[in-house]
């Protein structure tokens, strides 16, 4: 077993570095900058380590930990998105006096939790990873502890998330009781449709996971937490945990529940349709951009779940592509928020964007590209994400799901257009403060150029994602 420790190398490296920079933070005064820079370095090094890892499937620790192409892909996606989120939000963090050295360390801890989540092949390890991630997120949500809204959102998230974790744990124990094992492979062999208890367990686990990705009807926390938490945290919430949550949903369908897919699918289809509709309709009346992005993320998760709900590899692939493009779009959109500063304050209302295109053409055109891409208008990247999802869904002849999805696309286009209208069509011309935030600008630039040029070579993501399911 010890010989196989190199499989665990990224996690070991990450944990040791977390301890080291924690010590740094404790012993050096005003250590935010140092810790922050080290965090970026650690993220880059971990990416390098994982890229160096082979993608062949290997299991260690009594088959409870798995490393394969699937987990490696998600780990890299988590790392890259965290890197961009962290760096583009740095000046926001400093200016809002959130620059405690714990901030990046807690983010690293949550990343460690997600690593265990996506690599778990065992219920216990899975739950441990999930809790490590969730506990870090509770702290992050209330990191601005003197701010009433931030603390409120932290408590809200904690209470609801603890409830869902409890349900999830109950599901895990039921599953153990009915199958006699916590190992995913063994559970997969034991499970069948006659096993009513296991079906209950499945529902509980699904509830827990749906909560983490904020799918309807377990989405209630999302708008409040997104609005209450500082923008930099919201950005992190909107991107990284969703990736991990989706990975787990796919993993549960692939391994432990592969024999009772049909039951699992029925629930997922409902959740997916409900998320798409609510995400589209509820966002229309929002005035706060963060709240609007919360609802839009609920809608986007609905589309990603539609791909998962097909229960086919092509569907999972389309979901993974969707979530990857979703990450790119959201990093760009939130980076735009880091540049919206007026009168010394970061603005988050749609009305604060009114007519900014006259004075800030570059920021406006970038926001325009990202928003049209989110709406799924060709030839931008967001269209291809949706296109793959609908291709997979229609292949399974789930026409109802496809047509609902397409109609909600039209409805959700309305609120994206509303923001564009505010930016471009209004007569007033708001001038924003100059914000020196190079990394946010770089994030916006990269995100826009990927979305704009995606149509030139749209199979680039497909090729990567295809290879994940090759065996």
């Amino acid at each position: 077993m010890i010989n196989n420790l190199d499989i665990l190398f990224p996690e070991i490296f990450l944990s040791l570095s977390i301890f080291t920079i924690l010590m740094l933070g404790v012993f050096i005064k005003r250590s935010f900058n140092i810790v922050f820079n080290f965090t970026s370095l650690i993220l880059i090094l971990t990416i390098a380590i994982i890229l160096n890892n082979p993608n062949n499937e290997e299991k260690i620790f009594l088959d409870s930990y798995i490393r394969d192409g699937f987990s490696n892909y998600f780990k890299i996606l988590i790392l890259i998105s965290s890197l961009f989120v962290l760096n583009s939000s740095k000046s926001f963090i400093v200016e809002n006096k959130l620059d405690k050295f714990e901030y990046p360390i807690i983010i690293l801890l949550s990343i460690l939790g997600m690593f265990f989540m996506v690599s778990s092949n065992d219920l216990i390890l899975f739950y441990l990873g999930l809790e490590l991630q969730s506990l870090s997120l509770y702290i992050l949500a209330s990191i601005d502890r003197d701010n009433l809204r931030s603390s409120e959102s932290g408590i809200k998230y904690f209470v609801l998330s603890a409830l869902s974790s409890g349900l999830l744990l109950y599901g895990c124990s039921l599953l153990y009781g009915f199958t006699g094992s916590t190992n995913f492979d063994l559970i997969a062999n034991e499970l069948n449709k006659e096993n009513i208890g296991a079906l209950f367990a499945m529902v509980f686990i699904l509830v827990g996971l749906a909560f983490k990705v904020s799918a309807v009807p377990f989405h209630m926390w999302t708008p409040d937490v997104y609005e209450g938490a500082p923008t930099s945290i919201t950005n992190y919430f909107a991107v990284v945990p969703k990736v991990a949550g989706l990975a787990l949903l796919i993993k549960f369908m692939l391994v432990p529940f592969s024999n009772i897919l049909l039951e699992w699918q029925t629930i997922l289809i409902f959740i997916s349709i409900a998320s798409m509709i609510l995400g589209a309709v509820a966002a229309i009346v929002q005035k706060n951009i963060k709240r609007l992005l919360a609802y839009s993320s609920i809608g986007h998760i609905g589309y990603a779940l539609a791909g998962v709900a097909t229960g086919e590899v092509s569907g999972y692939e389309s979901s993974i592509i969707y979530i990857s493009i979703y990450v790119i779009m959201n990093i760009g959109a939130f980076s735009c928020l880091y540049l919206l500063k007026k009168d010394g304050q970061y603005k988050e209302n749609i009305s604060d964007l009114s007519g900014i295109s006259k004075k800030h053409p570059l920021l406006s055109i970038s926001f325009l590209i990202i928003l049209f891409s989110m709406a799924g208008v060709p030839p931008l990247g967001g269209f291809f994400a949706k296109f793959y999802i609908f291709t997979a869904v229609i292949e399974k002849e789930m026409y109802f799901l496809a047509i609902t999805g397409l109609l909600t696309t039209v409805i959700s286009a309305f609120y994206y257009l509303k923001i564009i209208k505010t930016i471009y069509f209004e007569d007033s011309a708001i001038t924003l403060e100059k914000v020196k935030n190079k990394s946010a600008q770089v994030s916006i630039f990269l995100s826009c150029s990927i979305l704009l040029t995606f149509f030139l070579y749209p199979s680039i993501l497909n090729n990567v994602v295809n290879s994940l399911f090759a065996n």
Binding site: P379, F390, Y399, F414, S459
Partner: protein, 493 residues
């Protein structure tokens, strides 16, 4: 031919729009205007060269380009035949005219306006070149973004409402087409149009797929009863936006019927012919009556566009040589005439900032050059023999008479109504007594406006007397379209 001439044609405007984006002139926007004029004229020359080197004796697709695109199963495939080349030339011809017209009419954010126009040109040429359903959808939908911005940023007072209506109507129609495209892919294993022609889609699927395509094309055409976005969009759009909308965007749907609906779903096309006849006749008569009552010049021309497009759908679904050729001819001619009429309205709007008919009257005494050109276009729009407008309608009516007397009779009624509203418009705007004292101070056309409008009037009259160059171009393609359609219907029975 190894040189990717179609890709060059498509992406030339896009690349030059990037250069405009980079150009840095603050006050007069000279370099932006020159870059865009130069590139759009180069595109036009290139399209003329394509027309010249196109072999019109064959119905095969020419200048075909093929690249693997999405995982080898969807190809980036371009190609043109006798039908599409004319639309490409029309697009490439109208764009420089729009750019010239914006020198007079667009006062703010000229640079962005030119970028939007050039990006739009890329999408429009792309629509007419694509031989793959997904590529077609990409270009078809992509055009929404620049058009939405053109209406919304540079439009009139109710621009937000119109832009949203335009965008959401078109998007709603198109998403169903996307479903149909994906279904076709799973039925046939390809989205390559030429392969789908060969494979033939099973009869039981055709009706639903045809309706899904119709939902998109009907909105874009626009057919009654989903035409309501068009008058709003036209009224609020700036002159150049209206010109592009009327001259080219409306032709995409007619082209879509010819390229996709009929060859791919021959059975459904025959099945739904009565529906199309009904909708077309309603469009022709109803919108002509509505046009009679309009007080806004742009709205009147917009409604007349709906009526003219009614003739196009009627002609296409006769499946006769005359009907289809007439429809294509009508589309080209409407592209020239409606563009010219919107330019004429734009000329007046630039001077008096009013589009209401009642503002004007007796223009002939003070703007003689303008009045002459306006009269030519108005007469062409009502189908005076010797102009392109006559030939299209005439051929369509001949085609319709072969299939249905009733439809042809009712459509002929539309010709009379068309004459009524156009002549009445001319009478109220050009002739009559000058009521408004401001008209006496108006200046006649300036050089740029004379250039634009004379070129258009020359073409309208030239092709009215001598239609052969156009007819020869698409004749063999139309023949093969009809032959394949008849063949498909016969083999099924």
């Amino acid at each position: 031919m190894n040189f990717p001439i179609l890709s060059t044609l498509i992406f030339l405007p896009l690349i030059s729009s990037f250069f405009i984006f980079l150009s840095k002139d603050k006050e007069n926007n000279f370099s932006s205007i020159y870059i865009s004029l130069f590139s759009s004229i180069a595109t036009f020359m290139l399209s003329l060269f394509l027309w010249y080197s196109l072999d019109v004796n064959t119905a095969d697709f020419q200048f075909v380009e093929e690249k693997s695109w999405i995982n080898n199963y969807i190809k980036f495939k371009l190609g043109i035949d006798g039908i599409s080349i004319l639309f490409i030339v029309l697009t490439a011809f109208i764009t420089p005219i729009c750019i010239i017209s914006c020198i007079n009419s667009v006062k703010e954010r000229v640079k962005e306006f030119l970028i939007a126009i050039l990006v739009l040109e890329t999408f429009m040429i792309g629509v007419f070149c694509s031989l793959d359903l997904v590529i077609f959808y990409l270009f078809f939908e992509g055009g929404l973004i620049p058009m939405f911005l053109i209406i919304g940023v540079w439009g009139g007072s109710r621009r937000v409402y119109s832009a949203f209506k335009f965008f959401l109507f078109t998007l709603l129609g198109s998403v169903l087409m996307l479903v149909a495209i994906i279904v076709i892919y799973w039925l046939t294993g390809t989205t390559d149009v030429t392969q789908i022609y060969e494979i033939k889609i099973p009869k039981e699927y055709q009706n639903l797929l045809w309706l899904a395509f119709l939902s998109s094309f009907a909105v874009k055409m626009p057919m009654w009863p989903v035409h309501t976005w068009l008058p709003d969009a036209h009224v609020e759009a700036p002159t150049a936006g209206s010109v592009i909308l009327a001259a080219i965007l409306l032709k995409m749907a007619g082209y879509g019927f010819l390229r996709f609906s009929i060859p791919m779903f021959p059975y459904a096309s025959e099945f739904f012919t009565p529906l199309i006849y009904g909708l077309s006749i309603i469009a022709i008569i109803y919108t002509s009556l509505v046009a009679l009552m309009q007080e806004d010049m742009k709205k009147l021309i917009a409604y007349s566009s709906v009526a003219h497009m009614g003739y196009v759908t009627l002609g296409i679904f006769t499946f006769t040589k005359q009907g289809i050729e007439g429809s294509i001819y009508q589309m080209i001619s409407h592209g020239l005439i409606s563009a010219a009429l919107f330019l004429c309205v734009g000329v007046l709007y630039d001077r008096l900032h009013s589009r209401l008919i009642s503002t004007y009257g007796g223009l002939v005494n003070y703007l003689p050059k303008y009045s002459l050109l306006f009269l030519i276009f108005a007469l062409a729009a009502l189908g005076l023999p010797g102009t392109t407008g006559f030939l299209g309608e005439f051929l369509i009516l001949i085609g319709t008479f072969q299939k249905s007397y009733l439809a042809a009779m009712l459509a002929t009624l539309g010709v009379v109504l068309g004459a009524a509203y156009m002549l009445w418009l001319t009478k109220r705007v050009i002739f009559g007594v000058t009521q408004n004292p401001k008209i006496k101070t108006l200046s006649d056309l300036n050089k740029l406006e004379i250039i634009m409008l004379t070129i258009l009037s020359f073409l309208v009259i030239f092709f009215g007397f001598y239609p052969m160059p156009l007819m020869e171009t698409f004749s063999s393609s139309v023949n093969s379209l009809i032959d394949n359609y008849q063949l498909a219907l016969n083999t099924r029975q």
